[in-house]
């Protein structure tokens, strides 16, 4: 059981900044994210793209913004449960919430801050008839354990880095690797594209471009796929088919938590503290909606700040505190660090 004062669901920029604002109020945070790394969309979708509307940064790369947020919150020692999706929520007798992930990790906290962006990232599944029937029976959308494919005949589809990287990796261990892509061009790292070209030249992989997997077949387990090449449908026997078409965010299980949902987002009280219809559960950043909502990182930062003040009152009812400027109060980390503005030097002139 992982306990914290605020359990943050979503480790994107808004979730990360929540740790800072909570830390100033001496509240400890833990973050859950379905992705294997923090940063949310900033690290998953566009780490090398610039953002121009972060106050005081005329330009910052999304990946650098993530790094700077992680640096900023380090003194507050946040915990992370990465690569797991928050699946269920229950309220305990003492009012705390119990959130369980898809891998069974349990988290307990008196306050939940949902900073889930557009949802958790799930693999994009191609619209192939019967594909779902073979999931975990030869069809997989990501590779957990490459050893599963040792000495197997594997077909991959897609034109990005994952498809290229796994083609290279599996070419060493699988009995055969076929990569199918709709175009001749790939948009992965140049180095990976060149390696795949070499593997093809040496006859170590089978590259089919332009081609598209349009069918899957088998009894209990996948035994073949159908590939459309130049208008012809060709059946290729195989043990595994791995479509790698990237990830798309889905609100997912959270949609069944009893929260009021509007426009695929969680409705909150924006006049006060971004609380949802469940007291103690807040929604901040792109995941929430209210009249006039703008899905901007800078708005998420604002929402996180106000939400933490409300969370403090919930966790410490009646306990007085006044918002302090960091320039005045400094930043006192849970790790023993202390940042403080230098004191003025006063010296008399004789």
């Amino acid at each position: 059981m992982i306990k914290s004062d605020i359990l943050i669901i979503g480790a994107g920029p808004t979730g990360l900044f929540t740790v800072f604002e909570a830390g100033l109020l001496k509240l400890r945070c833990h973050l859950i994210d379905a992705l294997p790394q923090p940063g949310g969309q900033c690290s998953e979708i566009y780490p090398k793209k610039p953002i121009y509307d972060i106050p005081a940064y005329p330009e910052i790369l999304a990946g650098d913004l993530t790094d700077k947020l992680l640096e900023q919150i380090r003194p507050f020692d946040p915990g992370f449960t990465l690569g797991e999706r928050a699946d269920t929520i229950n309220q305990l007798d003492n009012g705390d919430f119990l959130v369980t992930t898809n891998k069974g990790t349990q988290h307990q906290a008196p306050v939940i801050a949902i900073a889930g962006g557009l949802g958790s990232f799930e693999p994009r599944k191609p619209p192939i008839e019967d594909l779902a029937r073979f999931e975990d029976k030869g069809v997989a959308y990501f590779i957990k354990d490459p050893e599963v494919y040792r000495d197997k005949h594997v077909v991959l589809a897609g034109g990005g880095d994952s498809a290229l990287d796994w083609t290279i990796f599996l070419s060493d261990i699988a009995a055969s690797v076929t990569l199918v892509h709709r175009r001749n061009e790939f948009r992965g790292a140049l180095d990976s594209v060149e390696k795949v070209q070499q593997l093809k030249n040496k006859g170590l992989i089978n590259l089919i471009t332009p081609g598209e997997v349009i069918g899957v077949a088998g009894e209990d387990h996948l035994t073949s796929i159908t590939i459309r090449i130049d208008g012809d449908a060709i059946i290729q026997p195989c043990d595994a088919f791995i479509p790698l078409f990237g990830l798309a965010p889905k609100l997912g299980p959270m949609a069944n938590w009893g929260l009021e949902i509007e426009k695929n987002a969680i409705k909150v009280d924006n006049t006060l503290d971004y609380q949802t219809n469940i007291p103690g559960v807040y929604a901040i950043g792109d995941v929430n909606t209210y009249p006039g909502k703008l899905k901007l990182i800078l708005c998420g930062f604002h929402e996180a700040t106000l939400m933490c003040q409300s969370a403090y009152q919930r966790i410490h009812p009646g306990k007085k505190h006044v918002m302090k400027y960091t320039t005045v109060g400094g930043v006192e980390g849970f790790d023993g660090s202390h940042k403080q503005a230098p004191k003025a030097v006063i010296k008399s002139i004789d």
Partner: protein
């Protein structure tokens, strides 16, 4: 300055809408502005040609800008692709697109 364009939504209903040409808007943003596809199913990546949620079929012959490498590559990984497939986030509304008709591709 405004032009008229026709958007066919995912249910097949046609909407003739006024589209500003002086606000640096794309057809993906126009769909969102008129709420013709549910939030979270259109423009997911914000308009960077990185998700294909704004995939459209352009069904009139107005002169469109050429596909960039980014759009070309993303369409290669999109689903339900046809010869007239484009990403709505890469087509900016301009006076010469008056009368444009396009259909929003199925959600994937």
């Amino acid at each position: 300055m405004e032009i008229q364009v026709t958007i066919v939504d995912r249910e097949g209903a046609a909407h003739i809408v006024a589209a500003p040409t002086d606000m640096n808007m794309t057809i993906m943003e126009l769909i969102r502005a008129y709420e013709l596809a549910p939030e979270g199913t259109i423009g997911v990546c914000g308009g960077m040609a990185m998700c294909a949620s704004c995939h459209c079929y352009v069904s009139s012959s107005e002169e469109l800008p050429a596909q960039s490498d980014d759009e070309h590559a993303m369409l290669a990984d999109a689903f339900y692709v046809e010869d007239n497939s484009r990403l709505g986030c890469q087509i900016f509304l301009k006076p010469e697109l008056a009368g444009l008709t396009f259909r929003i591709a199925p959600e994937s």
